[in-house]
Symmetry: C2
Subunit: 335 residues, 2 copies
């Protein structure tokens, strides 16, 4: 498979650094870092994720949503390893002229998301800078059994998502390009679902950058491909269908990133499929079956269409993070 | 005592948020957040600290130093609670045109500081933004006994620092205001010292914002004052003395923030003083005795001079983080 630009940056920043003897995962192998605590059977899950571009581009404007998302993006990483949430730290960079209403809105967003996810705010750090930015760092806990990782999918496994997809891109398209009514967006990380999946799934990852990026990453980690039979509409969120129809976009393009919807995508071996569906039902949850894990490394089919996942994943960076350019380029991909 | 502007911002961002039942410290009570892990005797220490203003003002220009400090500022918070280091996450915001040499310099700084502190880089996150910024989040571990906190000082306790002070401000003054030769600055967080202190000190905190801010904070937490007999030169780093002499500044002004030197300041009850000094010596380390904890809340004396610690702590923010203005205002404080 071709190189992913973002992974190249990460490798240049982290390549060759000494590893912790307690760390269970290698780089890119899981959504959160996994550490066996010295002298303990328990596994600590640690992750950091920041809300920066979403503010700079105007995608998140409401301080409440910025606060909500700073917590949720980190909770989603804990969900994708099946961890119980312990707490979150928030590093907030504020402009010098930050009004009180901004602070109050952020606090309400932090608090509402912390309560909704059972992920209390433990502390943080404030800085002064030219632009508002919030970096979170969350800790979770896997107290028995193995955590979920991106590794373990095998050809023949069934591929699922925790819920309908495309809402993240639809929200972004509607906000930044062509406003056609409101698209409600305040996702809840799939923590309960992740804890169920730990016992059944062969691999998992969140869709924080959209399903296509998730499949590209899972294909790399597992040297596999994916096939998702059409019609693709069956796996899409109603608002994704509505926004795509209104803008005359092929609906599957709402699966392209870089802004996703924070569902979980996961694979399950055929003999675990029914047990997973039973456990999900017992938790009041119905996974959406996407398709299957296939043998050809890096080959992803949506409906009958082969998708160049690497190209789509690099596209936002290739156009210099220019949203208008990106949408034009994605439209061209849509034929 | 009067209000500290930075604490006001933190309280507006975090006030009223639900606490974790596992968290041992309250807000502002320790340099790192302390969590009793469910079903365990061990205490997890978590902290986040970012390098933002130091880059924006030009204080840190060398990518290696930026990388080194992003790790060290977080290691220093772990040191101040006496934790064993577990690892660190790094959230890096890069400008779009970041050259390869910037990435390579950051990586060397991250790696050198991670190795020097035994605090391996576990993972991280990259974002694109207008300005370079690095937020770190570190985890540590207190496996037996109690962690060190900012609370517990009593009048009559002896006050120490882990090493000579004033280097952080001297480096900043020399870099930003009046360059008079080089001032070497690549501090090592006092992790070993903090682990020794856990058994002996009544309170502790790092001097990441300069000693005066540290004493202001410890005075608030313990409703006490501090008296540091002169001559103040005896507690200052040789480079702090040199920079102050070259710029005709009163030497004690190198104890004002907002850029400190990442030593630990701590108090010890009189009956523990000798045991502490013995334990320090056994670790090849000689604490510097600063003075004593006094009764009058918030009253800090340096030599014979009472210091308005709150005013000095607010000053950088009061002048809108303008470095030239700040130095003029600090000079006026120096009489």
């Amino acid at each position: 498979m071709n190189a992913v630009r973002e992974l190249g940056v990460i490798d240049r920043l982290a390549g060759g650094l000494r590893r912790s003897p307690h760390q269970l995962n290698r780089r890119h192998e899981s959504d959160a870092e996994l550490l066996r605590l010295p002298g303990s059977e328990a596994i600590l899950a640690l992750t950091t994720d920041a809300v920066v571009e979403e503010i700079a581009t105007g995608l998140y404007q409401d301080p409440w949503l910025i606060g909500w998302m700073a917590v949720t993006v980190n909770a989603s990483d804990l969900a994708a390893v099946g961890a119980d949430p312990l707490g979150i730290l928030l590093s907030v960079t504020l402009p010098h002229d930050a009004p009180r209403e901004l602070l109050a809105g952020l606090r309400r967003g932090f608090g509402d998301a912390a309560d909704a996810h059972g992920l209390p705010v433990l502390g943080g750090d404030t800085n002064r800078g030219a632009a508002l930015a919030v970096a979170g760092a969350a800790a979770g806990w896997v107290s028995g059994g193995r955590p979920l990782t991106r590794c373990g999918a095998r050809p023949g496994d069934r591929l699922f998502a925790s819920g309908p997809l495309g809402l993240g891109a639809a929200f972004a398209f509607n906000r930044l390009v062509s406003r056609a009514g409101d698209v409600a967006f305040h996702p809840l990380a799939r923590l309960v679902e992740g804890q169920v999946l730990r016992s059944y799934a062969s691999c998992g990852m969140d869709t924080s950058d959209g399903l296509i990026t998730t499949l590209d990453e899972l294909a790399r980690r597992n040297a596999c491909g994916f096939s998702i039979p059409g019609p693709i509409e069956r796996i899409l969120h109603p608002d994704a269908l509505r926004v795509a129809a209104g803008a005359d976009l092929p609906p599957w393009l709402t699966l392209a990133g870089p802004h996703g919807e924070f569902e979980l995508a996961f694979s399950v071996s055929p003999d675990q499929g029914d047990a997973l569906l039973d456990a999900a039902a017992a938790n009041g949850w119905v996974p959406i079956e996407l398709g299957t894990v296939t043998e050809a490394p890096g080959v992803v089919h949506l409906g009958d269409q082969p998708i160049d996942t690497t190209r789509l994943r690099n596209l936002f960076d290739d156009v210099g993070a220019n949203v208008e350019e990106y949408v034009r380029a994605v439209r061209r991909s849509g034929g």
